[in-house]
């Protein structure tokens, strides 16, 4: 058996439904997908749900992948979409505050702050679901507010205001955390 298959060979194997190739693909991308899932979920259990959904839809939709553009980007997008649909499922049980805001003011922090990735991840996970989704999609994935509004099924204004509130909330947490660290 070949020890080093190229990404294309692995993808083709997955398209043919070969479990050996699916395992290779899984090993290659699982930590990346788990990282994305963690950002969108409020805890590790939810992240695992998103993760599982994401990988299943990667394997099932892989036959539509036409080798245009990077495969990693494609997987990343599927993971984000899985997170969004997971959120929408969650949303049905909740109400979202709708408020209109046209402008999102900048909220700045000192970039030398001594926080680790896991500290920041914890802060993001602690955000309310709506804030967390918009913040992740806008700030980290780089989506536009129009796209986010369409994905989440809300208005563009809601997306903007949630983003602003998310930033304010994060800033507050950073300051709190910083004080704890200082003390």
């Amino acid at each position: 058996m070949k020890s080093q298959m190229t990404e294309e060979e692995i993808v083709k194997g997955c398209q043919a439904g070969k479990e050996r190739c699916q395992k290779m693909l899984y090993d290659r991308f699982s930590s990346m997908v788990m990282g994305i899932s963690m950002r969108y979920a409020k805890n590790r259990d939810d992240a695992q749900d998103i993760f599982q959904d994401a990988f299943v839809s990667v394997f099932v939709s892989i036959r539509h992948f036409k080798f245009l553009g990077s495969f990693e980007g494609w997987v990343r997008k599927i993971a984000v979409n899985s997170a969004v649909s997971w959120y929408r499922k969650e949303l049905k049980e909740r109400t979202v505050d709708i408020d209109m805001e046209t402008d999102v003011p900048d909220v700045t922090v000192d970039e030398e702050l001594p926080f680790s990735e896991s500290d920041l991840l914890e802060m993001v996970q602690d955000l309310p679901s709506g804030y967390r989704m918009v913040f992740n999609l806008f700030a980290i994935e780089g989506y536009k507010h129009e796209e986010i509004a369409e994905l989440l099924g809300c208005s563009v204004g809601t997306s903007r205001s949630q983003y602003f509130k998310a930033k304010k909330s994060l800033k507050k947490r950073i300051i709190e955390k910083y004080k704890q660290v200082e003390i």
Binding site: A16, E19, Q22, R39, F59, V60, D106, L120, L121
Partner: protein, 307 residues
């Protein structure tokens, strides 16, 4: 100072997190995954099994069909016609009585002699199979029936139109030259004592044998053949009304590769070599045999494989 969104992006964009080992099992056993893998496995399996199966099936059918076509070529002869019939039918193409196809009839369908001109053009190019042949000929018969009502009482089942004409000529072998002149075509009939074997040839592809020499077997070597399984000229063979003594036939391609060898005078080459159909073109034969007195004879020449 830095915008908080960018700050988080820098830190979290490339975030990797190791999932627990259990998750792979969960993904693997997900119902959607299992269904997908099952479908893909089935597709693979059907491909690996289906393609060879189709190939085997096609080969078997082809083989069966070829062998059945060869069986159908059994020569049948029995006919009673007059010279008048030939002359009249060359103009109005009236069927007389049913005649079965004769395998020993040679017709250069590429260059139709004049006697065929009044017939609807039915050549071996348009007729691929014996079955089709019958269909085409029955249409021909229908047309004839319209044109000639005075002979409508005569049974005219679908039969081989060309061979009929040739058989008529067979009857006329007492004066073949005259007949050829009458139909104004480049036809040469090599007549023999046995009326069952008759050759109609274009004048440009004359035989190599001299019918005047009595101590030699009268043989005819065609200048071409059409191995398309239509029952006519499907084999390159040496035609003779009697056994050819010490017969040996070699066939070569133009590069000198031997494609066929036979010691049986009634066998012929079907245009294949090691199972492959050879391309259209010129091939070379070498024929060894002996006269009735026992003198060895050698004939060499070329012939066309026409597809």
């Amino acid at each position: 100072m830095k915008e908080i969104g960018e700050y988080f992006k820098d830190k979290l964009e490339g975030l990797d997190s190791q999932p627990t080992d259990l998750l792979w099992d969960k993904v693997r056993k997900d119902p959607a995954m299992r269904r997908f893998n099952r479908i893909q496995r089935f597709k693979r399996w059907s491909f690996y099994v289906g393609v060879p199966a189709v190939v085997v099936l096609v080969t078997a059918i082809t083989w069966y069909y070829r062998s059945s076509v060869q069986v159908e070529q059994i020569p049948v002869t029995e006919k009673q016609e007059t010279h008048q019939d030939l002359i009249s039918e060359s103009s109005n193409t009236t069927p007389s009585e049913p005649v079965a196809p004769v395998s020993s009839t040679i017709l250069q369908s590429q260059e139709q002699p004049a006697v065929q001109k009044t017939e609807p053009q039915v050549t071996s190019q348009t007729v691929k199979t014996h079955q089709n042949q019958e269909v085409v000929y029955s249409e021909v018969d229908k047309k004839r029936g319209e044109t000639t009502s005075e002979k409508s009482d005569i049974l005219s089942p679908p039969n081989n139109n060309k061979s009929k004409i040739e058989k008529r000529e067979k009857q006329q072998n007492i004066e073949p030259q005259k007949e050829a002149a009458q139909v104004k075509g480049p036809i040469v009939t090599q007549s023999t004592a046995d009326p069952e074997v008759t050759f109609v040839e274009d004048a440009t592809s004359l035989t190599h044998t001299d019918p005047e020499v009595a101590d030699e077997p009268r043989i005819f070597i065609p200048r071409g053949f059409t191995p398309n399984y239509d029952g006519e000229n499907d084999f390159f063979k040496v035609y003779s009304e009697q056994e050819i003594p010490q017969f040996e036939l070699y066939i070569y391609d133009r590069n000198g590769n031997m494609l066929y060898y036979s010691k049986n005078w009634s066998d012929g080459w079907d245009g294949t070599y090691q199972g492959r159909e050879m391309v259209m073109g010129v091939y070379v034969y070498l024929l060894k045999y002996s006269t009735l007195k026992g003198d060895p004879k050698i004939e060499k020449g070329t012939f066309n494989l026409i597809r």
